[in-house]
């Protein structure tokens, strides 16, 4: 503990203007293996890579521990009572993600694509989608994504900004996690209805280990009718666990490079098993 804290204080002095390579090196030397992720809850608050100007640009809302606890408890109750309050689910994710985000950041740092993502921080918004997305064939990844958006009336701008995470990199990890959610729907071929969203939540829980995902995945099904619960237990949850464990860490994928790829080939590349059980219908 002492050694780690002194190392971190040395690094804090030198970390204010580092390139991604330097950041990667420091993270490899300081941070331990992913199995000891729980210790991150205590150590990461001192390792701050964000300057105040960057924080102001993101309109960070600082929250102390009391506010985090109150918001965590309140938002989880409200989200459970009224699942339409997506802002409460998002707030719960931001408040409870603190323990897991450093671990996810490490996983991204250990991969070259993940490092590229953290350095360039690309956003998925309507402006950043390619112009020719609408003309791509529906068996390509981009075409399938466009079809998913148009069929369901979604827009990539619907995702709320991450405001309550102080560190820039961790905030980006959480923001990226929110923005690629729709891509996971497309890869898995699961519709965005209530049981479908729960299936994707299970996948997210296995892939990212966020407490908010775990809470939604385990408490959410309690509200479902019995038939859907049975389908979840028998088909979708085992699929999610299998797929989540076997596929590549999905936050490390630069989806923007794969618009033209054939969807089936992309799944093979990522070792992502699409859902093949009975169709998920929300009655």
């Amino acid at each position: 503990m002492m050694i780690r804290s002194t190392l971190q204080s040395v690094l804090r002095v030198s970390s204010t203007s580092t390139t991604s390579n330097q950041r990667c090196l420091t993270s490899l030397t300081v941070l331990q293996s992913p199995s000891s992720s729980f210790s991150y809850c205590y150590s990461t608050s001192s390792f701050n890579t964000t300057t105040t100007e960057e924080k102001k640009k993101r309109n960070v809302l600082p929250t102390n521990l009391f506010q985090k606890v109150l918001l965590g408890v309140g938002s989880s109750l409200i989200a459970m009572y009224n699942p339409g309050r997506t802002d409460m689910v998002a707030a719960l994710g931001e408040v409870s993600g603190g323990c897991v985000l450093p671990h996810l950041k490490t996983k991204m740092m250990n991969d070259s694509d993940g490092r590229w993502l953290l350095e360039h921080k690309p956003r998925i918004r309507i402006e950043t989608l390619p112009e020719q997305l609408s003309s791509l064939a529906p068996d390509t990844f981009g075409g399938a994504y466009y079809k998913f958006l148009t069929d369901n009336g979604f827009s990539p701008d619907d995702r709320a900004e991450v405001r309550m995470v102080e560190d820039d990199d961790e905030a980006y990890v959480l923001q990226r996690y929110r923005e690629v959610h729709d891509f996971w729907h497309v890869l898995a071929d699961i519709p965005p209805n209530v049981p479908g969203e729960l299936a994707i939540k299970w996948l997210e829980m296995v892939q990212t280990g966020q407490p908010m995902c775990a809470l939604s995945a385990l408490v959410g099904p309690l509200r479902l009718p019995f038939q859907q619960q049975r389908q979840l237990i028998q088909h979708t949850a085992p699929w999610a666990v299998r797929c989540g464990r076997n596929s590549k860490f999905l936050l490390n994928v630069i989806y923007e490079n794969h618009w033209n790829d054939n969807l089936i080939e992309l799944r093979k590349k990522l070792n992502f098993e699409p859902y093949s059980g009975p169709t998920i219908i929300d009655k």
Binding site: M88, I126, D158
Partner: protein, 327 residues
């Protein structure tokens, strides 16, 4: 309700900076019912952006708007619930005490500035409006005798009373007017009630036209408090009373510490959870701290010309009722 809506009105430019970074349609809809300038500006910029790109976006915008609107319509009406949640229902007691202090008699003419109403859910029958309390107080006065022939002079009936609700926000006035008509109060009833829109720094009334001037939880958000006070002095008759109910400073340091902890830690989070709007409530608690102390505010009221200026602390100083007379 009253607190938060006035906060939103006066914090347009403040919130505009935040709303541009939050989600496009949701932020428009949470505050669209309260702030027309802000929603129209952000909506038009995002719609023009959308029309230059994909075709599905215009469909998406309309569909999304109705969907999000329905989710956040429920949230918008929770602004009234926020008042109850923040003050634990005590704001009703404050307003009751305010009206008991004024103690109007039949024949009084009230001007209630910044008195617009928010949307109340139907099951909350409690009328939190100052002017409705004023009317109820007059009617419950033991010497009140309604005029059997309204419009005609009567030697036995009480003098007619009136209340004017004055606010800068037309939507809130419309809401109040609906409630007034439901309760049978119009411009020609006795006591009568009227709803007028305008700026509290430039009252469209003649000099010396009211007995009572009240402003509850509104003066904190006025840009020029001394101008408002001067206008209040102008429209009051000789012998008229100026009353102000406003959040104030707590004298006791220990209680002040507890109140600060509650204000800064709990209220913005409650705002985020119940109303989906944290910034407005953060601004609310900060603006309460910026308002002058009870004595300083009493000094400002004296400077406007009022005499016998006194104040009464409510709830250990969380609120204060300031009273001054035009003599």
């Amino acid at each position: 309700m009253l607190l938060s809506r006035r906060v939103l009105r006066s914090s347009v430019s403040f919130i505009r900076g935040y709303s541009s970074t939050t989600t496009g349609s949701t932020s428009n809809n949470t505050t669209s019912s309260n702030n027309s300038y802000q929603s129209s500006s952000t909506q038009s910029s995002s719609e023009s952006k959308q029309q230059t790109h994909f075709g599905f976006k215009t469909i998406n915008a309309e569909e999304k708007e109705t969907m999000v609107k329905s989710v956040f319509d429920a949230v918008a009406s929770k602004y009234d619930v926020m008042n109850d949640a923040m003050s634990l229902g005590i704001h009703r007691l404050w307003k009751d005490e305010f009206m008991n202090t004024l103690n109007p008699v039949p024949g009084s003419h009230l001007l209630d500035v910044a008195g617009g109403t928010g949307k109340e859910e139907e099951k909350i029958k409690e009328q939190s409006d100052i002017s409705f309390r004023f009317i109820d107080k007059i009617k419950s006065n033991p010497y009140y005798l309604p005029n059997p022939h309204p419009g005609q002079l009567s030697s036995t009936a009480s003098l007619s009373s009136s209340a004017i609700v004055y606010d800068i926000n037309q939507a809130m006035l419309d809401e109040g007017q609906k409630r007034a008509i439901q309760n049978g109060y119009t411009k020609t009833s006795d006591p009568s009630i009227d709803f007028i829109q305008g700026n509290s720094e430039q009252l469209p009334f003649e000099d010396e036209s009211f007995n009572c001037y009240t402003i509850s939880f509104g003066i904190r958000n006025c840009t020029n408090i001394d101008v408002v006070l001067k206008e209040a002095y102008r429209v009051l008759k000789k012998g008229g009373r100026f009353m102000c109910l406003e959040f104030s400073q707590i004298p006791n340091p220990a209680l002040r510490f507890a109140y600060d902890q509650y204000s800064f830690n709990v209220i913005p989070i409650l705002g985020q959870m119940i109303a989906g709007d944290r910034e407005s409530y953060q601004y609310l608690v900060e603006s309460i701290r910026k308002f002058p102390t009870q004595d300083n505010f009493a000094g400002m009221i004296r400077q406007a010309g009022f005499k016998q200026v006194t104040y009464k602390n409510l709830s250990f100083g969380i609120c204060a009722i300031h009273s001054g007379w035009k003599l």
